[in-house]
Structures are given as C-alpha cells and as structure tokens.
Amino acid sequence: MRLILSWATLLVVAAAWAQAGVAELEAIAYGRQRIDLASGRTILEDGGELIERGSGVRLVAAWIAYAEGVEVTARDVSIEGDVGFVDAPLLTIDLVAGRLTASGGVAWRREGLQVAGETLWFDVDAGVVGLLGGVEAVEPDASAAEAWIELESGRVLLLGPYAYADGPLVLRGGEGAALQLDASDTDAGVVYDASTAVDADWLAVVDAARAAWEAASEE
C-alpha cells in the first residue's frame, strides 16, 4: 500500500512540474549560465537548481536546460521535497505535450519507501504514470516488469513478471500476467482489492499510454 501511495505522491509532484510555467520556477545557477538564442533555451552548464514556488519542491541537477513554456531537460537530477528524494540520470519535461520522462535508472526513497525503475513516464493529459523496466521496491519488497498508475481513479496495474512479498509470503505472476489493484477508502483506511482480471477500459488506457511512451522513445 505504501508503495502505491508513494507512487501517487510522485505523480502529483510530477504533474505540478509539468503543468507549471517556467515563470513559476526560480532558477539558481551554480556557474556558467548560457542562453541559446537559436532555441531560446537557458542552459545552466555547471548545474543549478529549479525551485517550484508553489510546492517548494527543489530540483538540483548537474546540468539543466529549460525553455520557457517548452521543455525542461536536466542531467544527474535530484528532487527533494515533501515527497522525499528522487534521483535520475536524465529528466525531460515536455511542457507542450505535457509529458515527463525520467530515465537511466530512477531511484526514489523516503521514509518507508525505497523503489527504483529504469524509466518513469508521465502523460499529463492521460493522467497515467508508468514505471517501466526492472521495477524494484526494496521497501516494501516488490518487483514488476512495469507498473502503471491512473491518477484519477487510483487504479494500479502490475505487469509480469511481478512479485509481491510480505514476510514469508510471495505472490508471483509470470510474463504476460497482470494484477490490478483498486483502492478504496474504508473506516479502517484505504484498502485495495486485487484482481488478476484487469478492467478492459483500464487496459486500453495503459495500452495507449504505453504506445505513446514507445513513440516518444523512438523520437
């Protein structure tokens, strides 16, 4: 459950970054700052910080390039805030298409959470986030080939091979297997129903998001 909540929190932060105009960002250059007149991008060649004024979330990177209202690109990124710490070798925010990609091995840690994946993909319009490739959560102990989260409904889809472990218990699905988790609030708190039968509309959303990610990857 903590894993899913953490993913959701990350998505809210990512959405805030993706939907924020650059004007809402405060940029701090650690060294040279160059403006590429041809592309209109501002490049912090020696690294720097971007701070989202609303949430106070701070992005620190060894190299940052951003174009107001167009995109943000950063290398060796660390994000720090209420959400905890996120590290990624490469971060790209397409402010026009409304898509965020963190790749090269994303690691996210906070109290009670330690998860990593090859790539994090967020489609703002679809409201869908995917963690793709070698999703591993040390705390809690879980893994999946891919994990997709729908922000509005809270539906989660794990694609196999996946595994959930809790103490001596391990639930595994092989390649091609899928597990849907549906969250709901109860008096006892948020509970989840698990099902290996995936909703057809949810599966269609994931298929579309996945196709979009594959198309973006080919670019």
Binding site: L171, A178, A183
Partner: protein, 669 residues
C-alpha cells in the same frame, strides 16, 4: 492492499499448516502454473497456483479461480479445485470450495464441499480412491491441530474386503475403524450371511492385513466371539485348524510320524501329538506321542502296544547365563536300548561380540551334570551314576568381504564311578564359507578324539572318534531372456579319514559325492523344469551297503496342469539298473463352483516288472468357490518325497470400483 493480500496468504498458510500436520508424505503431484496465471508462495509451507485472483472488500472474501492448485511442501498433499473462496480475511479466516480433489499419500479424496478454518477442514460427500481401496464417506475431517484425518460413516472396499464402519481414521496406508463390519463377500456387510463385526479394527490396505478387537464371527443368526486381538491376511486366510505335520522320526525309532505340531492351548501351555506309523523298513507299528510344555517344564509321553516312554524335564534359567535343569526319562518295553535316567544339569552359556573386524563373535558354552541312569543293552543292564562336564568355544567372523572363517573347539569328560570308567573327548572343527558372486563354497572339517568309553550305549552318551571333511559348493546360474537357463548347481562331498575296519591299511575315504543341477525355461505356453541328481560315491568307490544313483526329474506346468517324469537308476547294479521310472500327472477338472485336480504317479519300471509298489504317488486338490472366498483342500503323497497337506482360504480379487458402493446410509450392520 498488501495487508489484505497478506491476510489472504495467511489464510493459505493456516490451511497449509494444518494439512502439513495431517500427513508426512512425498509430494503426490505437482502444481503447474497456468500461463499468465499467478503463484502464491508461502515460505516453508508450500505454494498455490491459479489463473485468477480477486478480492471483494464488501464481502470480505478472496476468490481464487481457474485451475487452483495448492501444493504443500511439508506434506506433499495437493489440493485442486476450480474455485476456492477465502472469507473472514480480517478475523477468523475460512476457506470453502466445491468439487475439490485432495491428494495425500496414496489417497485421492474427492469431495462435494470443503469447509475449512484454522482448526480443521471438513469435507462432505467424500469419495476416496487409492491403488488398493476405494471408499465413500458421509464426511471427512482433517484436524489441523492434531493432524488426524477422521471419516464418518465410511464404506470401503479393497480387492478382497467390503468394510462398513461408523468412523475411521486414515493414516497413510493404515485405516483405523470403529464399530466396523466387514466381509469377504462382494456385498455390504449388513447383507452378508457370513461377516465379522468388531468394536475396532486396524486395516492395512497395502499388505493387506486386518486386526480386530472385540470381534465376533457372525454366520446367519449365530455369533461366536473371537480372540482379542484377532488378525488375518486379507488375501489368504490361515484357518484356525491344527497344523498337521508329517515327518520322519529323528530318532529313527518310529518311522513316519503324522501329527499336530506344537500349538498353544492355554496361556503358557503348548501341546503336540503325533502318531508313528512305521515305515517301509519295519512292519507297521502304531505309536502315539503326546508332548506338552508349560513355562519351564515339559513332558513327553510315547506309547505303543509293547513299550512306553515317559520323559519330563524342568529347565530353570538363572541369572548371568546360568541354567539348571532336572530331567527324568523312563523307557520300558521293547525299545532299542531302553533307558531309565535321572539327571541334574547346570549349564552356562555366553556369547560376546567384539567390534574387531575378523573376530566378530566369540561364544562360550559350559555345562556340568550328574545323573543316575539305567540302560538295557544287548549285554545286560548297565546301572550307575554319570557325572561330567563340557566346554565349547566358538570364534567366527568375516575376515574379508565374503570370507567367513570359524573355529569351534570343544571338550568334555564323563565319569562312571560304578564301573570305574571315564570317557573324555575333545574336538576341533574349523570351517570357512566363501561367497563370491553366484558362488558359495563351504569347507568344514571335524576331528573328535575320544579316550575311554562309556559303559552306556551310543543312544545315551557313548562317543566314537570322528575325522571327516565336508565340502559344499553351489553356483547360481543367471538365466538369459525370460530366465531361460536360470538355475542352480550344487555339489556335496564328504571324506572320512578314519581307518576302514574292513579294508586294512586304507581309510574309509569318499563317503558322499552328490551333484545336483536344476534349471527351467518357458516352453509350450508353460514352464518346463529339469532337475538332475547324481550320487556317485558308490560308483567311484564301490563298497557293500553304499549305492550309487543317477536321477532326473522333468516337469512341465501350465496353469493348473502338471505333467512330468522322474527316473532313477543305479549304474553299478549288475542287472536291472532302474530303480524308478515314474510318470506323474495332475489335471484340473472344473465343474461350477467346484474345482478338482487329481494327481497320480506310477512307477513304470516296477509296473513293467510286475512288482508291487508301482503306485508311488497320489493326491487330490479341491477348491470350492463361494461368495466369501475359495476354500482349498488338498493332499499329495509321493514315495520318497512325503506327504503334503493344504488347507486354506483364498479371497478372490475384485476390481476396485466406486460404483460398487452405494451412497452411505448406515454404518455398522
């Protein structure tokens, strides 16, 4: 979600833990994950595979569906169902399913409904199958605390038994039954005119054996209580009849003995009797022997028209290997060398086993006795006391693999004060046994030296010197395809080193040289066996009183048919060499429920010479098939071979079929 998933897993774990206690067998089957399905692993307990899993938070349930298979690593039990429901995930986990199959040990348990909680699993509408039995039960409970599996209103059939019980406990191949009725009839016990009813019973369905407690034999409206416990083999029942024995008198005095071997007739009391009917070397001479043994005492009475012998003995074991015995023997009438003897013997015996290879066993026996004896010999009656003692030491071991040497040294002395005589003796007996593959070779030598002589006869204690060597060799022949040519060759030889009183300057020499070979093969749809024997000592070293012979037996059997011939001849005989040329046959005749097989053996050689005694063998086997089994009665007599008697009951095997069992409506008849 993980918490709820954990509860689902805990439910599995509880169920698996209970079943883990219920058995300790190897995996009966393996659960194979469905493609695209999920697998749940519980460390140290087992795993479950299924195609689909869904939880319902409103109903507080989890449903596993599509080829659900639970494999319990500790027990090997495997549970299968198309749908399994877990409920009470928050508190008091319960499991339910319909149309389940649970495999445990050799049992496959199919049930209409399964309901389980942490305390136990209850299955209703149970059908049990195994390679050796099938059964129906109204209900079955797996106690998840004690690990017992208890069935209610069980109706079970094996290949030979039909069993109905109010209750039963299954533990692997063993079934404990309560308030049980059983029969060998192919019908429910309640409908069987001959049946057994018991308070409890243990049934081993593999052996198969049954042990009853508090049992009655019911025949129609009659009822007999059986001993408690009472056991029987469910394939062949040994009838509670006195076992008849036919043998030759080991003392050589009474010829052929027909009687009942020692049987328990009361707690601590055993009883035997036999009748001597003489033999071909002496005229018919009926004698009766009755023997009884109770505790440390025994009595033996033998009587005939002209003689009587009474012998009794009290043997009292003491501590540390000591034994003291008092015996009295009174013989009167026309016995050879009749004896009146009273003896008191103290003996001591002990065996040591040493851990040293090559000297594995050391045995020591010592005894001392004194006796007052009177014996009638040809020269008159000898009366006097006898006192003496003996000591025997035997060392045996396996020096190297397959070679076991042994050495026995013994000696003793007996004094006869009334005759101022003493008899002393001592002996050495080395022996070696060599086993190498199919070959087994035994070599033994015995030398006994005697000084002085007993005034009493050889039947009592007079000893003669002995110096002889024996060799026994046997070779097992491995057969080819179909065991053709499989058989055994044996050779036995004895050389007596003593001087031959009838041939001055020469030893007695070769006393015995016997060669035997046997083999067999499939032939003409049956089995052909050949056995050849040769006694060559008389041919190699002819002497009066020592014959030689060559013999062979060829027999062909097919199902219940038996045909054969047996020939024996003396190659050294000056004229007619044939001692025997017997043809024998046993042919079955089936008429309804009755089956007969007469046997006849005729010595053609004697017949051709119009000699008496050509009818050398006869017999009859009889089988009566009833609803409760096959009663076998039979005898066969062959000159030179002896008498064989058969009495028994066989239970015919029937196919294991659940349809033979009607739905359970009642237990004990």
């Amino acid at each position: 979600m993980i918490r709820r998933l954990a509860l689902v897993c805990v439910a599995w774990a509880a169920f698996a833990a209970g079943l883990a206690l219920a058995s300790g067998a190897e995996p009966a089957d393996a659960c194979i994950a469905v493609e695209g399905g999920a697998e749940l692993t519980v460390e140290g307990l087992g795993r479950a595979v299924f195609a689909g899993l869904s939880t319902d938070r409103v109903r507080d349930e989890a449903l596993l569906s599509g080829g659900v298979c639970v494999e319990f690593s500790a027990t090997g039990g495997v549970l299968r169902s198309e749908r399994l429901t877990l409920s009470g995930l928050g508190d008091g986990v319960a499991l339910s399913a319909v149309d389940v199959e649970f495999r445990l040990d050799e049992w496959t348990i199919a049930a209409d409904v399964l309901e389980a909680d942490i305390a136990g699993a209850v299955l209703t509408g149970v059908r049990l199958t195994s390679p050796d039995a099938v059964a129906l039960a109204e209900g079955l409970r797996v106690d998840l605390v004690t690990g017992t599996i208890v069935a209610h209103a069980l109706r079970l059939v094996t290949e030979t038994l039909w069993v109905a019980a109010d209750g039963a406990t299954l533990d692997g191949d063993r079934v404990e039954l309560r308030a049980v009725g059983l029969t060998t009839c192919d019908c429910p016990p309640a409908e069987a005119s001959v049946r057994l009813e018991a308070r409890t019973a243990e049934l081993d369905i593999v052996d198969p054996t049954v042990t009853l407690h508090g049992a009655d034999l019911v025949v129609g409206s009659f009822r007999w209580a059986l001993s408690d416990p009472w056991s029987f083999d469910a394939e062949n029942l040994t009838l509670p009849l006195p076992p008849i024995s036919v043998s030759e008198d080991p003392e050589g005095r009474r010829g052929t003995l027909v009687g009942v071997s020692e049987q328990a007739v009361a707690p601590g009391v055993r009883f035997a009797w036999d009748v001597g009917i003489g033999d071909g070397e002496r005229p018919p001479d009926l004698s009766l022997r009755i023997a009884a043994r109770a505790g440390d005492a025994s009595v033996d009475v033998t009587g005939a028209s002209d003689r009587l012998r009474v012998a009794w003995r009290v043997n009292r074991p003491l501590a540390n290997g000591w034994t003291v015995a008092y015996a009295q023997r009174l013989e009167g009438g026309a016995w050879d060398e009749p004896v009146r003897d009273q003896s008191l013997t103290a003996g001591w015996s002990r065996a040591w086993s040493t851990p040293t290879a090559g000297l594995a066993v050391v045995e020591v026996d010592a005894s001392a006795f004194t006796a007052l004896t009177a014996q009638t010999l040809a020269g008159g009656e000898v009366v006097g006391t006898r006192s003496g003692g003996s000591l025997r030491v035997r060392i045996a071991g396996e020096v190297v693999a397959g070679w076991r040497p042994a050495l026995e040294v013994a000696g003793g002395a007996t004094g006869y004060p009334a005759d101022a005589a003493t008899q002393t003796w001592w002996s050495v007996a080395p022996r070696a046994t060599l086993t190498a593959g199919a070959l087994r070779l035994e070599v033994e030598h015995l030398s006994r030296w005697v000084r002085g002589a007993s005034p009493f006869g050889a039947s009592l204690d007079r000893l003669a010197p002995l110096h002889r060597s024996d060799v026994r060799a046997s070779l097992a022949l491995a057969g080819g395809a179909g065991d053709v040519g499989a058989g055994r060759l044996t050779a036995v030889a004895r050389w007596d080193w003593r001087a031959d009183p009838r041939r001055p300057g020469r030893a007695i020499g070769l006393e015995r040289l016997e060669l035997t070979g046997s083999t067999g093969a499939a032939a003409w749809g049956g089995h052909l066996s050949v056995r050849a024997e040769a006694d060559l000592a008389g041919a190699i070293d002819p002497r009066p009183g020592r014959a030689s012979s060559l013999g062979a037996t060829v027999a062909w059997t097919r199902a219940d048919w038996e045909l054969g011939t047996r020939v024996r001849l003396d190659p050294t005989a000056p004229a007619w060499p044939w001692r025997e040329a017997t043809v024998f046959a046993a042919l079955p005749i089936a008429t309804g429920d009755w089956w007969w097989r007469p046997y006849l053996a005729v010595d053609v050689a004697s017949w051709a010479r119009e000699q008496a005694g050509w009818w050398v063998g006869h017999g009859l086997d009889l089988a009566w098939t009833s609803d409760f089994g096959v009663l076998d009665l039979g005898y066969r007599y062959d000159d030179g071979i002896g008498l064989r008697l058969d009495v028994g009951v066989r239970f015919e095997s029937r196919p294991l079929d659940l349809e033979r069992l009607e739905p359970v409506t009642e237990g004990r008849p």
